[in-house]
């Protein structure tokens, strides 16, 4: 017993918080990568996350494609869809005020979510947990469902890979240079429009990957991404979009704070991250890891 709260309840909520935090980290990472090059906040990110979960579900239902294949295949499919959106819808207005691009992605989110609501209804569909991950790990002080442990590991590995690609490879150096000065990069003979399309596709693929991970955990429904995305926006404001490590740390920390709030003051769990955001704006307006302009 800690503060009159049973340890199992506390640790249970903390792991749930950690899992939510892993999703916040993955999604805010994708947003940050897209924002870096396109200067656009992708309002369709939540819808693309939902798309990831739904495509995995439909592949299983209609083609019997299992979880592992889906985990690799779905991000590629949804990522390509995202690349097409960038190429044919976002690129034509890339030179207009960036607020228009934001509104475009918002419109896309409405369309995608509306289509799935009409086709599959608002209620949730369950996705079976893969065989390997049924059961739970005995950690001594609590039982941790294996799938939840896997989600945290997989999300962190994905974040690490994204960090590695961006910080340690040649492609990543193009990306970082393109973020600093796209015109100069174009002058060096780098195909910037292509890089932008691929970057958007990559960010969308990360969202879809998160969606597949989420499918067995939460029920798969058309609205699953929308409310999550708004929380992720708050996380992005708290962390600032300066660094990848910052996005991951902020995401996990906010998940844990949310979990703790659920234990000690359940009514506040849905609002606590927004309050943290307000506080950070007062103290450090550019975010905990953000750069001063």
């Amino acid at each position: 017993m800690i503060f009159d709260i049973p340890a199992s309840v506390l640790f249970g909520q903390l792991t749930l918080g950690l899992i939510n935090g892993a999703f916040y980290a993955l999604l805010s990472l994708g947003l940050a990568i897209i924002f870096g090059l396109l200067k656009v906040i992708n309002f369709a990110h939540g819808a693309q996350y939902m798309l990831g979960a739904f495509v995995a579900l439909l592949l299983l239902r209609h083609f019997g494609i299992d979880y592992w294949t889906a985990l690799l295949l779905v991000p590629v499919l949804v990522g390509l869809f995202g690349a097409a959106l960038e190429r044919f819808l976002l690129r034509p207005i890339a030179n207009e005020n960036h607020l228009y691009s934001l509104l475009l992605t918002f419109g896309l989110a409405l369309i995608i979510q509306g289509l799935f609501t009409n086709l599959y209804g608002t209620s949730g569909n369950s996705y079976p947990i893969p065989e390997v991950f049924r059961g739970a790990l005995n950690l001594g002080f609590m039982y941790l469902p294996t799938y939840r442990a896997w989600v945290v590991v997989a999300a962190l590995v994905a974040c690490f890979l994204a960090w590695f690609v961006i910080e340690k490879t040649r492609l990543g150096s193009y990306l970082r240079a393109g973020t600093e000065n796209p015109k100069l990069m174009q002058g060096f003979g780098i195909n910037m429009p292509f890089l932008v399309t691929m970057t958007y596709g990559f960010g969308v693929a990360l969202a879809a990957f998160a969606g597949v991970l989420a499918a067995p955990l939460y029920s798969v429904s058309p609205g699953m991404g929308a409310n999550l995305l708004i929380v992720v926006f708050a996380v992005v404001v708290i962390g600032g979009m300066g660094s990848i490590v910052g996005a991951v740390i902020t995401g996990l920390a906010m998940g844990l704070i949310e979990g703790l709030t659920k234990v000690f003051y359940p009514q506040g769990a849905s609002t606590v991250i927004f309050l943290v955001m307000a506080l950070v704006l007062l103290i450090k307006p550019h975010g905990l890891f953000g750069k001063e302009p």
Binding site: L89, N118, L282
Partner: protein
């Protein structure tokens, strides 16, 4: 040359006057031709969109959280009218408007610390927080909202249960809000707001306290959005979570974009069209597709029709009169 300019200006002003009178005449006659409830809904949302446009069109700030002010106006007014039965509707509306204004002050202080895309995200997040507060607070009726409110008697004299008197009150509220916005954007204060929109660093270097101007515009916009919500609650006799949802924040953007961002009449036209669309589609087989249809209009507006209807007409007239 000077004389021609003056005559053109007066000519322009005369056109404006005629247009305003024509619109007012339409507004006065409309309830005898069309369904008053629909018209009142249009006017409430028109005021909401005009208030939103004050911020986006004239300061260049995209708020993604204006639903919070609409809902606050609605809920506070609704709560007070249901709690204190002796309260007259105008006092209820006033209280709702003040509450929204106060919320606007708090949100504004937080949100204007960041620009552009961050501003949109912050307002959206704060509005979502408001949504959860309304969902859980003891006085809002949770998922059900507040229902069965009494319209009461305006100033204790005029029975508002009569749709026609209710309509003229709503029209008066709208005209008041519209004229206030018009006066604001055409004043020296409005000129500074536009300077901030066009080039914020320059406005700062000219010595303007940009943050104070932005905050004042934000508070004014929030207050008028609250007025729209409060009036809407009295008209429809309920306040629900729909008004607080982020869909509503998105919809007011669409109304403004469709009509014409930064034009005075655009939001009026855009909101009337969107409300009419809801009205027509709501009862039809396409009712479930509203979200998709609005999304498509959104995308089309952004891709090909960024000036909006009124903006397009203005450009057309300018081109052909040259």
């Amino acid at each position: 040359m000077n004389l021609i300019k003056t005559r053109l200006r007066t000519g322009h002003e005369r056109t404006q006057l005629y247009l305003a009178l024509a619109l007012l005449a339409i507004g006065l006659v409309a309830p005898f031709v069309a369904y008053p409830m629909l018209l009142m809904k249009m006017l409430c949302f028109a005021l909401f969109a005009c208030a939103f446009n004050l911020l986006l069109g004239f300061v260049g700030l995209l708020s993604f959280g204006h639903a919070a002010f609409l809902a606050t106006g609605g809920y506070i007014t609704g709560y007070l009218l249901s709690r204190y039965t002796g309260l007259t509707p105008e006092l209820g509306i006033l209280a709702g408007t003040l509450a929204a204004t106060l919320l606007g002050l708090i949100f504004g202080l937080l949100a204007i610390r960041r620009q552009g895309i961050y501003f949109a995200m912050i307002t959206l997040a704060l509005a979502q927080m408001t949504y959860f507060v309304f969902l859980q607070a003891p006085f809002t009726g949770g998922e059900n909202g507040l229902h069965g409110l009494q319209r009461g008697k305006l100033f204790g004299l005029i029975e508002l249960n009569n749709d026609l008197s209710m309509y003229y009150l709503v029209l008066a509220v709208f005209v008041f809000g519209f004229l206030l916005i018009r006066r604001t954007v055409q004043s020296p204060f409005g000129q500074v707001l536009r300077a901030i929109r066009e080039n914020e660093p320059r406005a700062i270097s000219l010595g303007y306290n940009v943050d104070a101007y932005k905050l004042l515009a934000f508070v004014l916009s929030a207050g008028l959005a609250g007025l729209a919500g409060a009036t809407k609650t009295v008209v429809f006799q309920f306040a629900t979570l729909t008004d607080a949802h982020w869909h509503m924040s998105g919809e007011v953007i669409l109304m403004t974009l469709l009509g014409g961002v930064g034009t005075l009449l655009g939001p009026l036209l855009g909101s009337s069209l969107v409300v009419w669309l809801h009205h027509v589609l709501g009862g039809s087989a396409l009712g479930n597709w509203i979200s998709v249809i609005l999304g498509v209009i959104f995308v089309l507006c952004v891709l090909m029709f960024r000036d909006g209807i009124v903006g397009y007409i203005q450009k057309f007239i300018k081109r052909n009169l040259r």
